[in-house]
Point group: none
Chain length 226, copies 2
Amino acid sequence: MIRVLLVDDDALVRAGLRMMLASASDMEVVGEAADGGEVVDLVERCDPDVVLMDIRMPSVDGLEATRLLRARPRGRPEILMLTTFTTDNYVLRALQAGAAGFLLKHTRPELIIDAVRRGAAGEPVMSPEALRQLIEAVTPRPAAQDAPAPPPAPGADDARRRLALLGAREREVALAVAEGRTNAEIAAGLHMSVPTVKSHVSHILTKLELNNRVQIALLVYRAGSV
Amino acid sequence: MIRVLLVDDDALVRAGLRMMLASASDMEVVGEAADGGEVVDLVERCDPDVVLMDIRMPSVDGLEATRLLRARPRGRPEILMLTTFTTDNYVLRALQAGAAGFLLKHTRPELIIDAVRRGAAGEPVMSPEALRQLIEAVTPRPAAQDAPAPPPAPGADDARRRLALLGAREREVALAVAEGRTNAEIAAGLHMSVPTVKSHVSHILTKLELNNRVQIALLVYRAGSV
DNA sequence: GCCCGGCTCATACCAAAGTCGGAATGTGGC
DNA sequence: GCCACATTCCGACTTTGGTATGAGCCGGGC
């Protein structure tokens, strides 16, 4: 039986996790905390194998709580960070604080359950997005001095590959979008109608499997074409 | 159909991989090489989606071959390193060479097939042992190793100074916006209502003298909070 | 006590973004 | 020539984003 401790300031999230984990017959939730400050005590009392820890919490955040837990002599429990966004480089900081894994909350339930199992077994666990961020953190591109190529940002290869899927006109629109311009401004600048710009944007979103123009901007930015 | 190229000096290993991949109906082996020197040519001819690359090879090793492949303009193919040992810290070097993943040969066949699928989709893939090695590489001391100055993009200081004008919650919203999320997603992720998100976004735009959320994303990106 | 600033939420309204279907053009293959 | 396919363009419609205004809650400073 894998003993799990939930740490999240949102009672709803805890309830959701509890229900999710209940569907796994080999694990049980042995405790819950709403803030990092309660965690150390709770771990002493509940003796969990795995802690699912939110990062953003009112007083003591997940990173600090992780450090506190890892400062204890014994190796257990394993700590899996569980958060919603990946923007800040929490990933690196969480790992450095001693987390055994990093998951996103929108990960499919069965994968979270699987991750808890792996975590309990001492395996490291990472959501794809978090892993990508970790990899980017360790692959700073050395400045290419010989090539006429402009500065390659992390992940630039992939970004460029995907931008290459676009038609010439579409690419122009994508670049304009990445400058924060509105469709009307783009239309004026590129001598086309607003509906046409929209059409291009729509095609770009489809081709690149994106959801909105902000993501276009980020992709272009990563490709270094700004 | 996922097109796979096998690169390994051992014909037996190649045969084994070929058989393994044959059990997946959505992939086909389009070529094989026994040395890194043949890879670039072969990629041109076979146009694979994924290269399964051994590290230890007679003349040109897998790391060098990976660098050669990634030096090409187009992003494809994705390169997955496939090796037997984790003793040397090949993991970091492979990732820095441009590999999209790192697998151990003794990984269970279905996991390798799954990894190829993920790799082809652009997801990073790591065997648990390799991931552990990667994590260890970033946990002791991240600062001292290679980049004394993390690339200070032009305007990063200014961007950070302006972000500092925001309140805590506003900053969180800004970061989420910079991930390309919709207001509804942000509301869900940050436990607030959509009107509140809009309110924050509006305040952010006013404070930072911006016009739309794309520009927020660009500012956050410039500030280096990616 | 009071006020103030930050955070929260609501309603309504207008502007911008994105979807859908359709159509004209051009290019390469048969 | 003809077809298939990609690119470019457009307009009508739906969804999302952003503004404006007002309000309630809390914690800190005076």
